[in-house]
């Protein structure tokens, strides 16, 4: 990572980060925007070029995934416990997967990053400084690609992919009578928050309303210079 690994807030006091050789690339975007599809294509593309890739997904840590699934399927969660479950999951993946992979020189593709947690807290009316402190130990990615979409294009994709679920619709917020109304209002708020953060954190914004190939081409163009620096001798076609 350029100039050594940097964190948003105070780094973990007990962990010497040094200068990991790998690159951390976060792909952000709201539910149903097509992140996983794009990440699978990126992984394939990078591996063909000879770059080792590790994909890390939100709520997929060994430690927490079961607790989170169990919690979502019944336990009365409030905003705080929800945020803390995610933060624990993230910390586990950061220390046990992301940092070791970066040290080993991997390109780490993060399917969502802490911005998702910040957006979710923000639309639920939480004090933004709290979550920023809690997740302050997170590494600043080398690149954040934000898949930008509007509600008009998002709705048909989510419906085609199996419909809206309770949490993606923010039903805990009681924003609407049914899933559709709630989804629309919740996602509007999330999109607004992502847009605000894209300026604050300098996201590379990619228009995700277009077809898969067009989005992938833009992603590759943004990622190529980041990984190329690592292997200057080897050209990576975008």
């Amino acid at each position: 990572m350029a100039g050594g690994a940097r964190t948003f807030g105070r780094p973990l006091p007990y962990l010497k980060l040094g200068r990991p050789k790998g690159k951390l690339i976060a792909i952000e975007g709201t539910d149903g925007v097509g992140r996983s599809t794009q990440i699978a294509l990126l992984q394939q593309w990078l591996e063909v070029q000879g770059f080792p890739v590790m994909v890390t997904g939100w709520t997929r840590s060994n430690l927490m995934s079961r607790s989170i699934d169990a919690a979502k399927s019944g336990h009365a969660l409030n905003r705080l416990t929800f945020s803390l479950l995610y933060a624990t999951d993230f910390a586990d993946r950061l220390e046990n997967n992301i940092i070791p992979a970066l040290r080993a020189g991997f390109v780490v593709l993060a399917d969502r990053y802490i911005y998702t947690a910040m957006a979710r807290d923000a639309v639920r009316g939480a004090d933004p400084s709290w979550i920023r402190n809690v997740l302050g130990f997170a590494l600043i990615p080398d690149l954040v690609c934000y898949l930008d979409i509007d509600l008009e294009h998002l709705n048909p994709r989510v419906l085609a992919a199996g419909g809206m679920n309770y949490w993606e619709s923010g039903m805990d917020l009681r924003l609407g009578e049914d899933l559709f109304d709630s989804f629309s209002r919740y996602q509007t708020a999330m999109l607004h928050e992502f847009e605000r953060m894209s300026k604050e954190f300098g996201f590379t914004v990619i228009d995700a309303r277009r077809d898969i190939d067009a989005v992938q081409a833009d992603l590759r163009e943004a990622i190529a210079p980041i990984v190329v620096k690592k292997k200057a001798a080897k050209a990576v076609p975008a």
């Binding site: 105070r10 079961r66 705080l80 910390a91 809690v134």
Partner: protein, 242 residues
């Protein structure tokens, strides 16, 4: 008191017992509960690390020993947040006396010894409310070891701080780990206005001191009487419950 932890506006009262393992705080908390219940007060009890939400995860993670200082800390904060909203706030709002065996101060002591930043962990718990009374059971490390080893055959891995690699021997590791926790507690006496109890004195003497202090704190407290529990505003407000 840390600026983030605010005084609560609720009619109930929150009493906390803190101290290292083997300080005897759980026994004292139990005796206080018995006394308050016998006096006719509505009492609720809550224990550190006991919510059903993360219990299985914590158990598994501790067994497999794959917790880092940060995930250890966050997991306990998750448990605490869950209990705060299910076991602590509702009875406080209803006017009950809540007795908590360990509170955020356990995290401030243990997690810092494990290596997390003291400021980070205090801000992590910024959502907690300030207790009305915190009893800190202060005990020499040797007394604590003696009590713990008398009660059971073996020290637990995390209890002995074995994850820190302080010593290969569990008793020695426990001694070093708990001594460091003791130092963190001592630093908090002023910061959080602890009422210090000499936990090496006789159990009944300690209990007398506790009851005196609790009685003083309860001077302005009025227990909710039957039929006078606060009714939440809403469509049912004012209606009879039967």
């Amino acid at each position: 008191m840390y600026p983030f932890m605010e005084q609560h506006p609720y009619p109930g009262r929150l009493i906390v017992v803190e101290g290292i393992d083997g300080s005897g705080k759980s026994t004292q908390a139990m005796l206080v509960r018995k006394w308050l219940e016998a006096e006719g007060y509505p009492v609720r009890f809550t224990e550190w690390n006991s919510s059903s939400l993360v219990k299985e995860t914590t158990k598994l993670a501790k067994k497999k020993k794959f917790l880092t200082p940060t995930t250890f800390s966050l997991l306990h904060a998750t448990d605490f947040a869950d209990r705060l909203h299910h076991q602590i706030l509702p009875p406080l709002k209803g006017g009950a006396i809540v007795v908590a065996d360990r509170y955020t101060f356990t995290a401030f002591a243990r997690d810092v010894v494990r290596g997390v930043d003291p400021d980070w962990v205090r801000k992590l718990y910024a959502f907690a409310i300030r207790p009305d009374l915190v009893f800190y059971f202060r005990v020499p490390i040797e007394t604590s070891i003696e009590r713990i080893l008398n009660g059971r055959a073996k020290l637990k891995y995390y209890e002995a701080g074995m994850d820190l690699g302080l010593a290969t021997d569990e008793v020695e590791s426990f001694r070093i780990f708990q001594s460091r926790i003791l130092r963190e507690y001592d630093k908090m006496i002023e910061e959080f206005d602890f009422t210090v109890i000499d936990a090496s004195s006789e159990i009944d003497e300690q209990q007398t001191a506790l009851r005196e202090r609790v009685s003083k704190m309860l001077v302005n407290y009025r227990a909710p009487k039957r039929g006078t529990w606060p009714v939440a505003p809403g469509p049912l407000a004012g209606r009879s419950r039967t």
